[in-house]
């Protein structure tokens, strides 16, 4: 995969990592049946961090971030998101899900609702926001992702890149403190990847805490403050992007980088 050039200056003034802990994972293990997918994961994410998780397919990176909002259940260890521990208590799970936004590879917009309805659904039903206020918030975020004019169309009428930007706006309407991105550009045509990455960069510039599973190494290099490399369900290496790309330590990381950046 080639490295997509990010052709603009990134405003780093608000990209500050605070001391406040956003996510804390201790000794987390997960199995699919007998298969050990995640092994002894320990990870602390501070408020304001922008973390890119990279790794070969099947290494457990998607599973890891899906555990953070309980789309997948972990069997051992402890996950604390924004001060709330993920347990079997449904109230905790619903609370965390409404505080943590998630963007999927295949957008997962609701095709029977218009763009605006997609964006107002959760604020109205989960947050009990009055409809008018929810619609104003939704239009604000749709303007932010630069598609306010599509508000009354259905997802099926939009291009892939537009749909993914709507998905980002839909998550933002819940005013999350943390955003999770699960391969947000992998299902997109090359021409559309850039518009989605631009939206993500703007989000980073506003100081959002972000965890991105992505193969966009240009994004990792320029926006992330930490890159995590996973293989076989474990965190193999993590470092600042500069160090990670220029001076990888483990053999597995070197092999991975040479394969995705090598040509």
């Amino acid at each position: 995969m080639s490295e997509l050039a990010i052709d603009r200056e990134i405003d780093r003034s608000k990209m500050q990592v605070s001391d406040e802990i956003a996510i804390e994972i201790t000794n987390m293990n997960k199995w699919y049946g007998a298969f050990h997918v995640l092994r002894d994961i320990n990870l602390t994410v501070n408020q304001g961090e922008r973390i890119v998780i990279a790794g070969p397919s099947g290494s457990g990176k998607s599973t890891l971030i899906r555990c953070l909002n309980a789309l997948e259940e972990h069997q051992q260890g402890k996950i604390v998101v924004d001060g709330t521990e993920l347990s079997n208590d449904l109230k905790n799970i619903d609370k965390i899900r409404s505080e943590v936004g998630m963007v999927f590879q295949h957008f997962n917009l609701f095709p029977h609702l218009t763009i605006l309805e997609n964006c107002t659904l959760a604020p109205i039903w989960v947050r009990k926001t009055p409809r008018k206020e929810a619609e104003e918030t939704a239009m604000h975020f749709l303007e932010k992702v630069k598609i306010p004019e599509q508000a009354n169309k259905y997802p099926g009428q939009l291009s892939g890149g537009q749909q993914q930007r709507v998905a980002i706006a839909r998550s933002l309407c819940m005013r999350p403190r943390i955003m999770l991105f699960d391969e947000p550009t992998s299902a997109l045509d090359p021409e559309m990847i850039k518009e989605v990455l631009d939206t993500m960069i703007e989000l980073a510039e506003e100081g959002m805490t972000m965890l991105c599973v992505t193969h966009e190494m240009g994004f990792a290099r320029q926006v992330a403050n930490r890159v995590i490399f996973m293989d076989a369900g474990q965190i193999v290496e993590q470092n600042e992007p500069e160090e990670f790309f220029n001076n990888p330590q483990s053999e597995r990381t070197k092999l991975f980088l040479s394969q995705i950046l090598g040509h």
Binding site: N69, L71, H106, N108, L109, F110, L121, V126, G156, S171
Partner: protein, 437 residues
């Protein structure tokens, strides 16, 4: 520049398609006469249609509307000269003229015909906001919610306090539910609300009705179930079974997918049992066996028993149709709803069900149509639906030997209803189409 190099300097404009491919002529060319074989098939089909119509139409348009009996019809036809190789050839429509009202209402007292007629007109009014939500103000849904209490009262009659007591049971259940769910959990609220409503309906409401009826006896004449018949009976059973089986089917389909073991196996057991038993068997159970299990002296209306059985039967099929729709939804829809913090019931109601039901529309409407036609089976347990009546009519000495006219008339009425449902489902599918998924 080498000779393979090419650069377009201006884009080509759009052009009209060739005249021979558009319009009626183009359509006929493409669909009817695209090659010599298709042309022959077209001509042969046209001849076949002509031959069939030429045979049927004279039979249909026979001047026997005023015939008083089958023999009288034959005399009219002989006088008109339409005599074929096997006696007279022509329909005897006298039977329909004389008996159509019976085919519609059975033995319902004729001075009270206005009640079923009004009930079915109001049915249309109640259905309008449900079926055509775009064009009808949604405030009319209040009437739709009250209609289930008006409908049986109009048909069976009796004191007005009966439906009001039934309605009060729902109100009571709701009050208990909202009081309990605020202080305790919502599950407790549902259970206690249901218990309160059941206690009211089974134990208390008869005293309430009796007491109020002795103070203020407002009511209309009672019509017993055995006087019901004809299309009125078919439509009553069909409408109730259709209206009740859809929500029941949704609950069963969700229960079948539930993570809760007991709920899941109860639903699977129910669905598989009902689907594994012929409807006729269930109807016999309703008409004969149930009486054995009831305490002596209880009077459990035969039409009500049939309604329950047909509804359960339809609900089992409905559940499987809806499960198909649920299975067709990508997992991402569940995850999208979950990730936004919607709880189970919100996700089902706002995201999953609207899409699953939309996918299932053709199957749901097929089940509706099937249920409506299956109502003719009640003639076997002695209820006088149109088919049951047609046997009675043919036993009349005047009309002994009439077959096609009666069954044709019944078939035509059934066709009108079923075709209407089918067309509505296509309208609904078009309306709900929101581009590719």
């Amino acid at each position: 520049m080498s000779d393979i190099g090419f650069v377009r300097t201006e884009m080509l404009p759009e052009r009209e398609p060739p005249a021979s491919t558009v319009g009626a002529l183009g359509w006929a060319r493409a669909n009817l006469f695209s090659n010599w074989f298709n042309s022959i098939l077209t001509l042969a089909s046209l001849y076949a249609i002509y031959a069939i119509l030429a045979a049927i139409l004279p039979w249909v348009f026979s001047p026997t509307w005023n015939g008083a009996s089958l023999n009288n019809c034959r005399e009219i036809l002989t006088a008109a000269g339409s005599v074929g190789d096997h006696g007279t050839s022509g329909a005897c429509w006298g039977v329909i003229r004389e008996r159509w009202i019976q085919l519609l209402f059975g033995f319902y007292p004729s001075e009270l015909y206005w009640r079923p007629v009004l009930a079915f007109i109001l049915l249309g009014v109640a259905l309008a906001p449900v079926l055509f939500s775009d064009n009808v103000p949604s405030k009319m849904l209040i009437f739709s919610a009250l209609y289930p209490f008006i409908f049986p009262w109009l048909l069976w009659g009796g004191t007005i306090w009966g439906p009001i007591a039934a309605l009060a049971g729902f109100v009571l259940g709701w009050v208990v539910y909202s009081a309990v769910s605020k202080t305790m959990s919502s599950l407790m609220g549902i259970v206690l609300g249901a218990v309160a409503a059941l206690v009211w309906w089974l134990l208390l409401s008869s005293y309430f009705t009796g007491a109020l009826n002795s103070i203020l006896p407002i009511g209309i004449e009672v019509v017993e179930s055995r006087k019901f018949g004809g299309f009125m009976l078919s439509i009553t059973i069909g409408v109730v079974a259709i209206a009740c089986s859809l929500p029941l089917g949704i609950v069963l389909a969700l229960g079948r997918q539930s993570d809760l073991m007991i709920v899941k196996y109860i639903c699977v057991g129910f669905i598989e049992f009902i689907r594994g038993v012929p409807l006729i068997t269930l109807l016999f159970v309703a008409s004969t066996l149930l009486n054995i299990f009831m305490p002596p002296g209880t009077n459990f209306d035969i039409i009500l028993r049939v309604l329950i059985m047909v509804t359960l039967f339809a609900a089992a099929y409905m559940a499987e149709v809806i499960r198909g729709g649920l299975a067709a939804l990508p997992r991402g829809q569940y995850e999208g709803a979950d990730s936004l913090g919607l709880n189970y019931w919100q996700a089902q109601r706002l995201v999953i069900m609207p899409q699953a039901l939309k996918i299932s529309i053709p199957g749901i409407v097929s089940t509706f149509i099937g249920v409506f036609k299956d109502t003719t089976l009640v003639s076997i347990i002695g209820l006088l639906d149109p088919l049951g009546l047609s046997n009675a009519i043919r036993a009349d000495a005047n009309w002994n030997g009439v077959v096609w006219e009666l069954y044709g008339f019944i078939a035509l009425l059934f066709f009108i209803f079923c075709f209407g449902m089918s067309r509505y489902s296509m309208y609904l599918e078009r309306k709900l189409h929101t581009g590719h998924r």
